[in-house]
Symmetry: C2
Subunit: 340 residues, 2 copies
């Protein structure tokens, strides 16, 4: 993230849909950075239950229960509620209000052209039966971002169109009231390979694809995951030359091994033959066990007292409401629809 | 309205977009009935500023200023704030929240098939550049209706698809939570000819068409309007036979003259010839002057003290929030997303 400097003046808005506990992919792609960034600037972390409902109406229990699960993952990974404001989206009604006004500033055609939305529609097989709330969620996302006057939104490269959509709404609103009320934001895209593949080698780690390693994984689950991990299917005998590219074990060693010189040596050895999968898997397993053990232990500590975690979320939500409420109040005042 | 009985158990939700003062068409089509119905059952009257913004972003001053103007029209026409709850839509955030969940219960395709929306899109020349907030306003309207557990919604026949859409959302939500949380409503369609034509004979009276007679019209404006009123363009000499159908003066006499037997005699006389437009117009003018004088006077009284009117709206809005807040709370509890 070096080239995309985040300063102490910045405000970060990011978060997760509450559809399942977080996994190692989240850790590499976002969570790890958040732990660093909370020492740099203000950071709002959204538990996006309302957004999760846009394609989970009826799955209320799942969406609700995972609010606590994701919060536990945050705290376990090192998010400090004294530094980061963790809040529950559905408890900040100001976001719905802002969103309802932003819906008037974006056309249906524009939403349908949004590449992120287009991809997601295809991915979910919605066709024309897409829920209206799903098509319009860029407006809701613009509300999430602008409510906190966020200047930085960490996203994957595929989400950049969403940021552009938000900035369009910002400019359109500011133009319509002839004042700089809302703030434009910029995408913070992880530099190289922050997307961890699934243990099966598929590009994306995902709970629903069954190729994820949960942050809360037990030692046994970690062992099993590494054992099942995709390597080089043509590397049948130890003596054979093996392929490093697309070999998940090496991708993970790149991501997690502190001794990158050793990893380069292992790669060279593997390529010329004579290095078995067992050896590199054992090395990776040790590293993952060491990485996840303290996270799992912190998680278990917090999980013993869910009331304490909920109190953290309550306080964060209260703080988020104050900030979002101020923005909403500015927005309504600029429109002149502040009556009393 | 005889055949569509409204009982004391009913709850009515109705209102007006705050885009201009009300006119005689509103009085005949809705306002007059509301004055009667406020003695029959609970009635919530919505000053729909947020809905007005769906196609008036930027016209903030117009939308805002007409909140007071429409409220003055209500009070002048005999709406009693002790009986009817008059409230400002944008000040009830619970409506935005409900709406955001309802958006997940309706597909884009379904919204696009809504005949009312289709007509309005055509009328406004939106094509594909329709603001998302405009396409999705049936969900917002469902929020307005269900928030107050309204059972009766007075609408024109062209608005019946909107009521069906609301009831679809109600059923879908109740099914999804397996409980009867939201209440279905029925349309209350005025029986015969409750739609008053414009003074130019066009089917719809509308400020923007320039064929309206404002409820607040001065004696001179009333006189001018009647003078300009469309009659029978072929009725050139008094002695000629004249046509009653499509003759706005007679349509208005049907609507406002207490002595309907006398009107029938006038019609017969007009048809056979020998009755001049001047005579029937003078009769209509007297009736309209008598009808509108007390309304105008009450309006002027209230207009002298806008702070008092705003206090009425503030109290109504507070009451509306309590009711809508209870419904929202029921909805969220049913979804299980009530965390604290």
């Amino acid at each position: 993230m070096d080239s995309q400097k985040v300063s102490s003046q910045d405000i970060i808005l990011t978060g997760d849909r509450t559809t399942g506990p977080l996994h190692l992919g989240h850790f590499v792609g976002s969570l790890k950075n958040r732990v660093v960034l909370q020492d740099v600037c203000k950071q709002f972390l959204l538990l996006a239950d309302a957004q999760a409902l846009t394609d989970n109406m009826g799955n209320y229990v799942k969406v609700r229960d995972n609010v606590l699960q994701v919060a536990l993952d945050y705290l376990a990974a090192g998010i400090d509620p004294a530094k980061s404001t963790i809040f529950i989206q559905s408890l900040v009604p100001e976001l719905s209000e802002l969103s309802s006004y932003y819906l008037n500033l974006v056309t249906v055609a524009r939403l349908e052209r949004n590449p992120t939305i287009k991809d997601e529609i295809k991915l979910r097989g919605f066709e024309r039966d897409i829920p209206a709330g799903f098509l319009t969620y860029p407006a809701a996302q613009a509300a999430d971002i602008t409510a906190f006057k966020a200047t930085v939104v960490p996203v994957g490269a595929d989400q950049i169109p969403m940021i552009e959509q938000t900035n369009e709404i910002v400019r359109r609103f500011n133009n319509s009231v002839n004042a700089e009320i809302l703030v434009e934001c910029r995408a913070l895209v992880p530099e190289n390979g922050a997307r961890l593949p699934g243990i099966d080698g598929k590009a994306k780690m995902s709970k629903s694809l069954g190729n994820a390693l949960a942050l809360s994984a037990s030692p046994d689950e970690i062992r099993q995951a590494v054992k099942m991990m995709f390597t080089d299917p043509n590397h049948l005998r130890v003596a054979d030359p093996g392929q490093v590219e697309g070999n998940v074990v090496f991708t993970y060693l790149d991501a997690f091994d502190a001794d990158q010189a050793a990893v380069e040596e292992l790669k060279a050895h593997y390529r010329r033959g004579g290095l078995g999968d067992m050896v590199i898997k054992r090395r990776l397993e040790d590293i993952l066990q060491a990485l996840l053990a303290p996270i799992r232990e912190r998680r278990e500590q917090y999980a013993k007292d869910p009331a304490q975690v909920m109190a953290i979320l309550k306080a964060g939500t209260q703080k988020a409401r104050e900030t979002a409420g101020q923005t909403l109040s500015d927005v309504k005042a600029a429109m002149g629809i502040n009556y009393f």
